[in-house]
Symmetry: none
């Protein structure tokens, strides 16, 4: 339901700690998940005075990407608000996206020419090194700065990948992204022409077309990466800013660009983290503690180790977090939620649909229902199995930020 | 889903016992909730043969007022059907509300006059005693009986509060309530003029305006309460009557006017209770047992003691109810549900969002899942955590009042 009419102006701070890809499955040799295998004396103590449960990130059986995973716990329906691939790619390389931008994911590719017609030979240009990619992006950026008043912004990703922003002079409507991919998803064929489904999209597609022609000229002399393919045209999704939706001043503590980008999409301010460890993030949190009343604190490595199938490393990062937990608990005047954005089971080496352990530490809980902060123990808790989008209303309630509904 | 197509004409009686504000949180000294601290041998026995669970009154994190709390367990979406403050106030003082009524909550206030303009000095007239309020309402009622064919009905509440009904000759549409509050929510300023957002509301606002002028004349000589302010204009919400929605003949056993009023809103008949104890209510229930096939039995004190933070008293009222439980169980041919409309934790001294323990006693349960009828034990039950609006379908099913859905 709509919370705006019942928001209070004041309340406690909310600290939302997201261990990316936290949820897991038993490791075959031991029958234990990383959370079960880890030694976590501080979490064990905390969980007894916390409300526990597991959240379903998107829907039963649905494996979320990072975008939907985070939108859900931020309280935005990930089904209603879909973030385009182009946007995610741009956020991932650290580009800021505006409502005037048409954003797309690019691949360097290899083409040969039959007369005037390019024929795609390799859709990834032999996965050129990232350094080579950077040289090419610099060359393209130098040569193509704008087209018909539209600013062109390019930034390298890993290997053959990059992000491109077409920054228009005026805001774009949601349908401006309705342009087909130029990647033909096959070799030995020409790339596809970009075409727009609406008048606005077609106008944008004409700019894209000119850009592709110019880029092909600039890259003509390159041996491998002499062509580019574009996929996932997207405009910035319309999301009610966090501050307006919840009456909170939100800050984000994260190291990886994509998560900072996702936080910025919902209007969070990004705190500067010097370094990349959890300790570095904690320091940034402490330094800005007085400046915000909501903190999204992102820990990436649980997901990375899950993706690698590195069971022992995932255990270790959980133990590191547990060691630091007293420092989080010493922060004053807040309620704390510890959860993940989705599960990344080591045995699957990928994101999964499994519900994610969740703990809310506040004075207003039953508590005493979970003996540890694990997948199996959280299932016994007072929050039950609940949709991720319901997390924010619960946190606002615990932070005493919601008025009574109706008389 | 819509139950009407699958309603049976017959079945068992349903007895829905609502202990207002039943759910609670652990008391810090003992770690026990009132339900956990209470000695309840009869409930302990009953729960083993009952389906148990906890219901979410409105939504995750949402603290319901009495209106939404009851609408939910009666099976009406409290989000879709919002009951105006004026209606609740009128029901609370025991006025009956019709579909021809514009209902509003009034405050006696103190004003001084700058020329013709009243300036509000005290929005509550120094919280005049209820007796003084009654004298003033009698004076106003005597002086202002109708305006332009609209009947004026006034009734005192506590201290400076009262309810006013503008009873029109014909039914009002839902938009007729779109009139601003006249309470300026500040002192040292004039009251606001009532204005309607629609043609119908503006016509009503003109009547309200004349009423306010007449009232100001009548009260002119009063020392403190020489003005009135109006808030929360509302018309009767459109609710499908209980009998039509469920094919049941419903009766209400309650002592407090607001709950009788809420029951009347959904078309329940109000049983006469001589006295105000649970025993008195039980006697009324027994006397009318043959006349209805659904009973809403309301026990108020659990909520009152929760609001007072009176932990021991809340324990005692639960124990009193437990002592009387065998008498409820001796009633024949019924299934019984015991629950609350919301939680009122003693440590919070207010309503809260926490799910509410629920028990359904019927032959068709798994049972054996909860050792006691408490918040924590009910979480282990076969009903799980479920939305309050799903309670009525469950009760109809247990009462063998629903046909198979589909072939």
């Amino acid at each position: 339901m709509e919370l705006k009419p019942i928001l209070k102006k004041q309340g406690k701070k909310i600290l939302l700690i997201v261990l990316d890809g936290l949820g897991d499955l038993p490791f075959p040799e031991t029958g234990k998940t990383p959370l079960e295998a880890a030694s976590t004396p501080n979490l064990d103590r905390l969980v007894k005075n916390s409300a526990t449960g597991v959240h379903i990130p998107v829907d039963y059986g649905i494996t979320p990407g990072s975008g939907p995973g985070h939108l859900g716990i931020f309280g935005y329906s990930p089904i209603k608000h879909q973030i385009g691939r182009g946007i995610l790619e741009a956020l991932g390389v650290g580009l800021e996206v505006k409502n005037t931008d048409l954003v797309v994911r690019g691949n360097f590719a290899t083409a040969k020419y039959e007369g005037e017609t390019p024929i795609i030979l390799d859709r990834r240009a032999g996965r050129i090194p990232t350094e080579e990619n950077k040289r090419l992006i610099a060359k393209l950026s130098e040569a193509i700065k704008e087209i018909d008043g539209v600013q062109i912004i390019l930034k390298s990703g890993m290997e053959h990948r990059f992000a491109a922003i077409f920054r228009f002079p005026e805001p774009l409507s949601p349908s401006a992204e309705k342009i087909n991919d130029t990647d033909p998803q096959a070799t030995g064929v020409p790339p596809l022409e970009p075409r727009g489904e609406t008048v606005e999209a077609e106008r944008a597609a004409q700019v894209v077309k000119k850009f592709l022609q110019k880029a092909a000229e600039v890259l003509k002399s390159e041996e491998k990466a002499n062509y580019i393919l574009l996929r996932g045209f997207s405009v910035k999704p319309e999301l009610t800013p966090f501050s307006e939706k919840y009456g909170l001043k939100p800050g984000c503590v994260a190291v990886y660009p994509m998560y900072k980008g996702l936080a910025r999409l919902v209007g969070m301010e990004i705190l500067e983290v010097k370094g990349s460890s959890i300790e570095d993030e904690l320091l940034a949190l402490k330094n800005s503690w007085e400046d915000f009343d909501f903190f999204f604190f992102h820990i990436k490595k649980t997901d990375s180790y899950g993706e690698d199938g590195a069971f022992e490393n995932k255990v270790r990062i959980i133990e590191t977090f547990d060691t630091l937990l007293p420092e989080f608990l010493s922060l004053s005047g807040c309620i704390i939620c510890i959860t993940g954005d989705h599960s990344t089971p080591c045995v699957m080496k990928s994101h999964s649909w499994h519900p994610v352990p969740t703990l809310i530490y506040s004075p207003y809980v039953l508590g005493g229902l979970s003996d540890r902060f694990t997948e199996r123990e959280c299932l016994k808790g007072e929050l039950g199995i609940f949709p991720a989008v319901k997390l924010m209303p619960l946190l606002l309630a615990h932070a005493e930020r919601l008025k009574k509904f109706g008389a």
